[in-house]
């Protein structure tokens, strides 16, 4: 994806042992191929094949149709891009755009909320003197709850006679179609995954050398300035990686809308739910088209995110000891002319 970008950064960060292993490079390449082949074989089977198969499937449609001579043919027949054009404009058009809109809405709202809540959590945890273990334990609980169970749990909380309405003193019909249902999904998703962002961000916070804050304090920077000029820029890489993970995860959201509200509910139907419903009705062609479009959407979002915000995931994949991280963090701070 960004194979060129890390290559530029490669030489200075490369660890020393390379020279000593130069002789064995050829053997290492072969060994690497042997070691990696089972993984790639499995990935080809469970991801490569479905990807190609979905593409092919999306060009077909099951059911009765008329062949060139006007005979009725049942079974699958080739329809070209009709499944796609139908998704955009035809009979299924409004459903597709609705699902697309919902998916986008959930992605943007949940991820923004989760990043804000997660960052706040990380800051609190970072400054907790005692009880950090307790906090960490608490924060892992939402992460461990299966999403399906959390969907049912929130369905119960948001029941018309449930605890949410009682606490709010309102009579909101959360599970009915409409905006409350959307927010119910967003809240449930934020609950479960903001702690995850908090954990990743906390790890980033802990890599910021204390001297930076001290120096800033000596120079008279107040807490807010320190947060904006030191904490935020330095924690940004960790936060962005977490946000990217979440973005791609929310784009494929299925369990929560399906269980919390219902799979036929217009207002929370995501692209995953739509494709699932179509496949369940044996409309494999349109289902495959929706699934393929979702896949493309994920790819575009991931690509745009990495391009625009420069989250160098591939560089992150290379060896990076904590010490080196810390140094590069310091360096990047020193090298910054204007605040990001």
């Amino acid at each position: 994806m960004t194979t060129t970008a890390p290559a530029v950064a490669l030489p200075p960060t490369k660890p020393a042992p390379k020279s000593s292993t130069r002789r064995a490079d050829h053997g290492e390449g072969r060994l690497a191929a042997v070691l990696l082949s089972p993984t790639f074989l499995v990935l080809a089977l469970v991801i490569g094949y479905p990807l190609v198969s979905a593409l092919r499937e999306s060009l077909y449609r099951r059911g009765e149709g008329l062949d060139a001579n006007g005979f009725v043919v049942s079974g699958e027949h080739f329809v070209g891009l009709r499944n796609y054009t139908d998704a955009f404009t035809g009979a299924g058009g409004s459903r597709f755009w609705n699902a697309f809109g919902n998916t986008t809405f959930f992605t943007v709202t949940s991820v923004v909320l989760e990043a804000a809540v997660g960052l706040a959590m990380a800051l609190v945890m970072h400054h907790a003197l005692r009880g950090r273990a307790l906090l960490r334990a608490g924060i892992l609980v939402p992460w461990a709850v299966p999403t399906a169970v959390s969907g049912l749990l929130w369905r119960w909380i948001f029941d018309a006679n449930g605890i949410a309405n009682k606490l709010l003193g309102q009579q909101i019909l959360w599970a009915a179609d409409g905006w409350p249902a959307k927010w119910a999904v967003v809240i449930a998703d934020t609950w479960k995954t903001a702690p995850f962002i908090g954990l990743l961000t906390l790890a980033g916070l802990q890599l910021i050398p204390a001297e930076l804050h001290e120096a800033a304090r000596v120079d008279g920077a107040n807490a807010w300035v320190q947060f904006r000029k030191i904490t935020l820029p330095l924690v940004k890489p960790a936060l962005l990686v977490a946000v990217l993970f979440r973005l791609l995860d929310v784009l494929r959201m299925f369990d929560l809308p399906y269980l919390l509200v219902g799979n036929q509910k217009h207002s929370v139907q995501t692209l995953s739910v739509l494709a699932f419903n179509e496949a369940n009705n044996l409309h494999y062609g349109p289902a495959a088209a929706y699934a393929t479009l979702l896949f493309l959407y994920v790819v575009i979002v991931a690509y745009a995110f990495v391009k625009i915000l420069g989250t160098d995931l591939i560089a992150e994949a290379r060896a990076k000891t904590p010490a080196r991280r810390r140094r590069s963090a310091t360096r990047s701070l020193a090298g910054r002319g204007t605040p990001a």
Binding site: V46, E57, P146, T147, G162, F254
Partner: protein
Amino acid sequence: MTTLTTGRPGRRASATRSGVAVVLRYFGMAVIIVYCLAPFYWMTVSAFRRPSDQFQLSALPRPWSTANFSAVFKPDVGFERALLNSLIVAGITTVITLVIGTVAAYALARLEFRFKNLVAAVIIATSMFPPISIVVPLLKLFTDIKWINTYQAMIVPSLSFALPLAVWYLASFFRQLPAELEQAAMIDGCTRGQAFRKVILPLAAPGVFTTAIITFIAAWNDFIIALSMVNKKDMQTATVAISRFTGAYGFDQPYGTQMAAGVVVTVPLVIAVLTFQRRIVAGLTAGGLK
């Protein structure tokens, strides 16, 4: 929040400000704990109410009752079978993933070869793949080859998300081990394979174990694959079984029973996670950051 950023742990702050900061700190911690645990608490409390008290919204059940749990384990519900199915699917997925993933992760972490960046990119890209894009074509394939309602129909698609995840975490664990260890072993006459088996693998055991937990939880929590690939009741996994509970007591939505089943499914995970919390946090952050 801004006041909190002033006092770094172990640093001296002015006396008055530090008083405020301490209060805010504990307040922040309390908010986080409540935020994380309140819904879970509500699930547990709701599970222990009598089914007739389901809509009683008091903080503690009055009286306590295990009727919901008995309802979950009534013979005709088949929940034990569902738990067993979940265990089989998640367990086998984890084992296959670890066996295949460990060697791949070692190659990524330790060997120098061409296209390494590309390989890493492909693996992380596959972990972004939406499950529905796998489920739709595989559903059709598995229908054709009569795999619907089998364990392999759930295990094989689960590999799609479990394997990239595991390779990613394992590689980051392997990278944390000093390269000198295996170099020393190889100087002492070990082949690379022996160095891996006898030096790296034992040292990486905690990392492998952590990856196993994370992978197992991911597979255990799967819903969409099990929902799609199985329509026979005795092949359902626990997550699907809970979602299909029908009201044993005449409510249209059997919340009490579902909450009880939710507790049964979640509590073992929570215990495992809390027991190994240090490792899991290390694993999650290492996988995310390195």
